[in-house]
Structure formats: structure tokens, C-alpha cells
């Protein structure tokens, strides 16, 4: 079920009074953006500051207290989730959002989220289940909602629900089922398995992991063969030649262990150095995409072992400047794509940048 592109998201509380695609997506985003505040996750709050401002997400002061289900179910006359699904009219959500906007306390938050668990749209139900998990006194009720949403026809609903499940209930048998599904292949595409290799300091970043924003962007259309199981390849992310040497060996071992041959490698930063070093050690790869990769003479691919090599970078990358590496490959066998963006090392793994500059057409098929 594709959604219409949203050029202007609908802010809180107005989003909860409509049922258009933009309203549904905005409602889900608002609910998900409330979650870092409930967890008091300052880093995530800072990361999403701009989005929170655009969507006018109310600030909630979390106290660590969980709200009892009966505190919200009874006043709202909501039937328990275990009973038959209760369809609430759109006016209820508008009113609850409006009340919450006037008095953004934990009870109002819980009331809106509890009601949204009964929302007619599954995306809003999944988003509410994720955000409400840390606030309700009975979070186990929400796992069923997420599991149910992973069966939905809408890919976005499935992805959001599976990501939530992986984080909140990693032991769910539904996740095991999902990971056993055969990999989807794009019609007419190569038979490579694609792999994302992160760079320095990025071992704990989310963007490259299954469910992360860049991983999801690539998987949903660009590289449907992208490796998406939870044991995705990762390395220390340490900043030394030794760390990269270990990582190159580990990459070869990991690929052999997963019987993946000639992988299509999409790498960021020194993840590219790791991949190139692995080819020097005898790894055969398919196409190699280097995103914001610093240029060091010791890290060059063995071109006899790789497919086409494409480097995508920004102008005067500040992280590469600190690294002391070169900004541009001079070997004509590496196709360079320089984006009209300055300084930002992370721009090359930003899905918005990929869309804006049509990067899917720049990388090899």
C-alpha cells in the first residue's frame, strides 16, 4: 500500500484529526518521536530536535512511573485489548490529542497512546505500541499488536512493527519466522548478496544495521538482496591500521561462514578501506561502492578481484580532513561522484541525499 509522498507533514495535534496519508504518517511519526522523551534518551532527543519542532511534538516530562492500564481504560471506556478489536471514531483521537496538547502530562500521554492502540490504521497502532511500551504498566499486551502488524500487507507497517519487536521483544518467535523468509530478489538483478560495511566509530550506530534508516532505504527498492539478518557483519570500528587489518580478515571469515560469494559491497568511510584490504587478501567481490572513503595508498582494491568500483563523496569532507586521508581517488578505474554538499561525512549514508541526487542510478546494477 504505497503512501502519497508527504511534502508537508501535519503537526500535532492537527494530524490526529485527519485520515489522509500525510495525517497517518504524521501521527505515527509523532507517536514515535514521543518515545525518546519517555525513555529520557537525551541523545535521541537531540538527534530528532528538528523533526520534533516541525511536527510540534509535545514535550513530556518522564518520571519513570508506569501508568496503570485501568487508569486510562476505564475513563476512556476502552475495551481491553484482549477482547474483540474496538474501532474508535476519528473524533476521539482528535479530542485526546487536543487534551494532551493542553495538558501534556503522563496520564494524557498514556490516554492518547492507549486509544491509538485501537486506531483503525495499523501503522498508528504499531507506532503507539512501540512508544507506549515503556509507559504502560502492562507492556506485554503490546507485543501481540506488533506481531499482528508484521503480517500486514503494507511494507511500512511490517517494517516498523518488526523493528519495534526486534528492540522490545527480541525473543518473539515471530522474528525468527521473519528471518527465515527467503531473501527477495529484484527482477533482472544480479545474484549478489549485498552487504553494508560501516566505518570508524560506527559499530554502535543504527543507520547501517537491519532496521536502520540507510539499511531500510537500500533494502526497500535499491538493493533488495541486502543482507538483513540480525547477525549482519560488523567490526570494531577502531581507528587504527591494526583494527582495519583484523576487520578485513573477519569480513572474509564472515562471508565464508555465510557462504556468500562475490558480495556487492556498500561501504562507508574506513569500511571501504576494510573492503579494499580484504580484496588484497584474496576476497573476490562484486561491485564495490565507497561512500566518503578516505584515500590512503595502502588501501586500494585489487581490481582483478572486484567488480566496478564507485566512490561517492562530498566536497572537503571534514572527517577525512581529520583522518589525514586524501579526498579523491586518482585511479581512473574508480568512478568518482562528487556531491554538491560540503563538509558532511555522514551525508553519503543519508537516504534523503540518495533520493535528492539520484544516487541509485550512480551505483552499479
Amino acid at each position: 500500500m504505497p503512501y502519497r509522498s508527504v511534502t508537508k507533514p501535519i503537526p500535532f495535534p492537527r494530524a490526529f484529526g485527519a485520515a489522509s496519508d500525510a495525517a497517518i504518517l504524521s501521527q505515527a511519526a509523532i507517536l514515535l518521536l514521543m518515545e525518546p522523551a519517555l525513555r529520557r534518551d537525551r541523545a535521541r532527543l537531540a538527534e530528532h530536535r528538528s523533526a520534533r519542532r516541525t511536527l510540534k511534538v509535545p514535550a513530556v516530562s518522564a518520571t519513570g512511573r508506569r501508568v496503570k492500564v485501568e487508569e486510562v481504560e476505564s475513563p476512556l471506556r476502552l475495551r481491553p485489548l484482549s477482547s474483540e478489536r474496538q474501532a474508535l471514531p476519528a473524533t476521539r483521537f482528535r479530542r485526546l490529542a487536543s487534551d494532551f496538547g493542553k495538558k501534556p502530562n503522563l496520564l494524557a500521554t498514556a490516554s492518547l497512546m492507549e486509544a491509538c492502540l485501537r486506531h483503525p490504521h495499523p501503522l498508528v497502532r504499531a507506532a503507539a505500541a512501540i512508544s507506549y511500551f515503556g509507559l504502560t504498566s502492562e507492556p506485554s499486551r503490546l507485543i501481540g499488536i506488533l506481531e499482528d502488524c508484521t503480517h500486514n500487507d503494507d511494507e511500512l507497517v511490517r517494517t516498523v512493527a518488526a523493528t519495534g519487536l526486534a528492540r522490545l521483544a527480541p525473543e518473539s518467535p515471530r522474528l525468527l519466522e521473519l528471518s527465515k523468509q527467503p531473501p527477495r530478489r529484484r527482477r533482472g538483478s544480479s545474484t549478489h548478496t549485498s552487504l553494508l560495511v560501516h566505518g570508524t566509530w560506527a559499530a554502535n550506530e543504527q543507520w547501517w544495521k537491519p532496521g536502520g534508516n540507510f539499511h531500510s532505504y537500500l533494502l526497500n527498492g535499491i538493493r533488495p538482496d541486502l543482507y538483513a539478518n540480525a547477525d549482519a557483519f560488523s567490526w570494531s570500528g577502531a581507528y587504527s591500521e591494526a583494527a582495519r587489518a583484523i576487520a578485513a580478515t573477519e569480513l572474509q571469515t564472515w562471508l565464508a561462514g555465510h557462504t556468500i560469494q562475490n558480495p556487492y559491497l556498500i561501504t562507508h568511510s574506513h569500511g571501504g578501506s576494510v573492503a579494499m584490504l580484504a580484496t588484497q587478501n584474496g576476497l573476490n567481490t562484486g561491485p564495490l561502492v565507497l561512500l566518503s572513503c578516505p584515500v590512503h595508498s595502502i588501501y586500494m582494491p585489487d581490481f582483478s578481484r572486484t567488480g566496478p568500483v564507485v566512490s561517492i563523496r562530498v566536497k572537503l569532507d571534514l572527517v577525512i580532513l581529520a583522518d589525514g586521508g586524501g579526498q579523491k581517488f586518482s585511479d581512473p578505474r574508480i568512478t568518482e561522484k562528487i556531491l554538491p554538499i560540503w563538509f558532511d561525512h555522514s551525508a553519503t549514508h543519508d537516504p534523503a541525499v540518495w533520493q535528492r541526487y539520484h544516487l541509485p542510478s550512480v551505483i552499479p546494477p
Binding site: 560506527a202 559499530a203 577502531a238 587504527s240 581529520a322 563538509f343 561525512h345
Partner: protein, 116 residues
């Protein structure tokens, strides 16, 4: 422009700490490892790792305060000093799996560095 200024600030912190011995500037550099901006985190990490053993005291201090522990342990691993092995070992069974993993990876890098 904000990114450029943020990066320049890190170079100033590094110079004040490394060349003039101003510890508070060094602490600010370590604190930048937890910046919400990936560029700032990366530059801070590189500047600290390139400072070698001189950065160890600041980094261990951050670890003792449980400040950005996985990244700080990764920077310590990058420095590659064998003398840090006992401190890093203490974290290999940390309750936070990210911390435990970062400690194990850092130990692996140090052991490899010293072998080669």
C-alpha cells in the same frame, strides 16, 4: 556552517589540551564523543586516537564516569597500548552488551597491534 564551526572548535580544544596542557579542553574533546552529530563524534575520536598515550588519562577518566563508554573504549583500543589491557578486561563482562563488545574488540585490536 555549524558543522564547520563545531569541527574548528574541536581542533581548538585539542590544541589547548595537547600543547598547553589545559585539561578542561581535553575533557570537552572527550565529551564530543557523545555529540549527536556523527561528524563531530568522528573528528573527536580521530583527534583523541591520534594523540596516542597522552589521551589515555582523559579517556580512562571518562570511562570511570561511564561517559560514552563504548566509544571511549574503542578509542582506547585504537591507541593500542598494552598497558591498558587490565582496565579493558574489566569491561568484557559489563552488563551493557555494547560496552562488553567494545571492550572485547578493543582488546583484540591491542593484542593484534602488539603482535604485528
Amino acid at each position: 556552517m555549524r558543522l564547520l564551526l563545531g569541527a574548528l572548535r574541536l581542533y581548538v580544544y585539542r590544541a589547548l589540551w595537547y600543547w598547553l596542557g589545559i585539561t578542561s579542553a581535553g575533557r570537552a574533546l572527550v565529551k564530543a564523543l557523545g555529540s549527536p552529530d556523527e561528524n563531530i563524534r568522528s573528528i573527536a575520536g580521530i583527534l583523541l586516537a591520534r594523540s596516542g598515550k597522552r589521551a589515555e588519562a582523559l579517556l580512562l577518566e571518562a570511562v570511570s564516569r561511564r561517559e560514552n563508554v563504548p566509544t571511549v573504549l574503542t578509542v582506547l583500543g585504537s591507541i593500542g597500548d598494552r598497558a591498558l589491557i587490565p582496565q579493558l578486561r574489566q569491561f568484557t563482562n559489563d552488563q551493557n552488551p555494547d560496552v562488553a563488545k567494545a571492550a572485547r574488540e578493543a582488546l583484540k585490536v591491542i593484542e593484534f597491534s602488539t603482535k604485528t
